[in-house]
């Protein structure tokens, strides 16, 4: 695990155009970024696109990182916002307002189920709860991030994260219960 000083030094090298430094940053965070993107997007191709866009944004904005948070937290924040942006664009483009993996009635999206590492009923239940609650639950309970880190990523107070996770789980349990009826 890199220290804040090492992270700052790496980013300084990236700003100077050192691609080896950027490669090191990518290799340290690409797996988790991809995992976060895949849980949110539910589709491997879209998750790879979001991951690519995340690192491109990281490179372009390397000079704007202020060091107020850990480098990984900053990158995951970019990843979450990139996924939100892509989901928003998808909704605008498609005549069907919901992407396949977010349509709880789309039982044909079995590939997305396995690809996202989620059982079908969990995928459908997650898709049915509000986006903000869903993201909080994904980051906290699936990705295993601590509440302070989730709060930094989502740029909301820790209390709000606790509330969203608690209510997200409650809604998720309700959806799972409805599916079993």
């Amino acid at each position: 695990m890199t220290t804040p000083a090492q992270e700052a030094e790496l980013l300084a090298r990236v700003v100077d155009g050192d691609h080896d430094a950027f490669t090191e940053i990518m290799r340290s965070h690409e797996d988790r970024v991809f995992s976060v993107c895949l849980r949110i997007m539910g589709n491997r191709d879209q998750a790879l696109d979001a991951t690519q866009e995340t690192f491109l944004t990281t490179f372009r904005k390397a000079g704007q990182f202020k060091g107020n948070s850990a480098l990984g937290t900053w990158i995951y924040r970019i990843a979450v916002n990139t996924c939100y942006d892509q989901l928003r664009k998808q909704k605008r483009r498609k005549t069907d307002p919901m992407p396949d993996h977010l349509d709880p009635t789309d039982h044909s999206a079995q590939d997305a189920v396995d690809a996202a590492g989620l059982r079908p009923e969990i995928r459908r239940a997650l898709a049915a709860i509000p986006e903000d609650f869903r993201t909080a639950v994904i980051l906290s309970d699936i990705e295993g991030m601590g509440l302070p880190e989730v709060a930094e990523i989502l740029e909301i107070p820790v209390g709000t994260v606790k509330s969203r996770v608690f209510r997200g789980r409650r809604l998720l349990a309700g959806e799972l219960g409805n599916q079993s009826v």
């Binding site: 990236v14 700003v15 155009g17 691609h19 990518m26 690409e30 991809f34 995992s35 895949l38 849980r39 491997r44 790879l48 991951t51 690519q52 690192f55 491109l56 490179f59 372009r60 904005k61 000079g63 704007q64 924040r77 979450v80 916002n81 939100y84 942006d85 928003r88 909704k91 690809a115 996202a116 590492g117 989620l118 059982r119 009923e121 969990i122 239940a125 709860i129 509000p130 986006e131 903000d132 609650f133 639950v137 309970d141 699936i142 989502l154 740029e155 909301i156 107070p157 209390g159 709000t160 606790k162 996770v165 608690f166 997200g168 789980r169 409650r170 998720l172 349990a173 309700g174 799972l176």
Partner: protein, 279 residues
């Protein structure tokens, strides 16, 4: 249930408590607490069954190839921070708006239109809900220079941006927006409060970063967004009575407060200025 009771239930469900006595006593004494606990455990159990996900070697190689292709083709250089903070651009506009709102609050409860028309020659619109106000005030102060850079047109700011909501709340909040729009926002606030439990968090497809930035620019530190509506005139209900003066907005409340009793602050999405406060 109280917040600390919900936290206790969550901690018990997550297995974080060294001493479960208080939590178990709570469950024993409250059916609601038992129901909440069971929901938390049910969700956590289901989520624990998720599988880790990894890129395949092919996917990883393709990702790296695509990134380097993009980075190598027009020789991109990481951006460096601008010499001046972003808010320098908006300081002249904020200064003008604070002075205008302060004068209105002091001089008249309902004479915003009369005051502006009489003393300014009606060059500035009276509706804070209109984006034209920002441009007009910017022209008044900067002589048309909207490049920012901190060169205000002679006006100095003495009020802190955090005074915005307090100033907006002085007197009649409907003086901020035209009466028809104010009534619309108040109705939206009532609906937000009434449907707290069943209503999903509607952000209109906007990212939390954008909304957080807008809150910050509105001077609403310590507030959290509860709703964003970029298309208030497209409610999906052909019978919805949306006044023409209603603009795209976000609605925010003080963090940590109960929505049912909190003040709801409406901020125009285009200008990130407070347009209505509902208490």
């Amino acid at each position: 249930m109280r917040e600390h009771e919900l936290e206790l239930i969550a901690a018990l469900a997550e297995g974080r408590l060294e001493d479960e006595t208080d939590a178990r006593a709570l469950l024993a004494s409250s059916e609601e607490a038992r129901a909440e606990f069971e929901a938390q455990v049910s969700a956590l159990t289901a989520l624990s069954a998720t599988s880790p996900v990894m890129m395949s070697p092919t996917e990883r190689a393709g990702l790296h190839r695509d990134i380097w292709t993009e980075l190598h083709s027009p020789m991109p250089v990481p951006s460096t921070p601008s010499s001046k903070p972003w808010y320098y651009r908006w300081m002249p506009v904020a200064a003008g708006m604070f002075v205008l709102v302060g004068l209105v609050a002091v001089l008249s409860q309902d004479g915003l239109e009369t005051f502006v028309a009489a003393d300014q020659g009606a060059a500035v619109t009276t509706s804070l809900a209109s984006s034209e106000t920002t441009d007009a005030v910017a022209e008044e102060l900067d002589g048309g220079d909207d490049s920012g850079g901190g060169e205000a047109g002679g006006e100095t700011v003495t009020e802190s941006p955090t005074n915005t909501v307090a100033e907006a709340g002085d007197g009649d909040a409907s003086a901020q927006a035209p009466p028809a729009a104010a009534a619309f926002y108040s109705a939206e606030a009532d609906e937000l409060r009434e449907d707290e439990e069943s209503r999903s968090l509607q952000l209109g497809g906007l990212s939390t970063t954008e909304l957080a930035d807008c809150l910050e620019r509105a001077g609403l530190d310590g507030y959290e967004v509860r709703e964003a509506n970029p298309t208030p005139d497209d409610q999906g209900d052909p019978d919805a009575d949306v006044p023409e003066e209603a603009v795209p907005y976000l609605a925010a409340i003080p963090s940590g407060e109960e929505l049912a009793t909190a003040e709801v602050v409406f901020v125009a999405l285009e200008t990130c200025e407070v347009i209505h406060v509902d208490r």
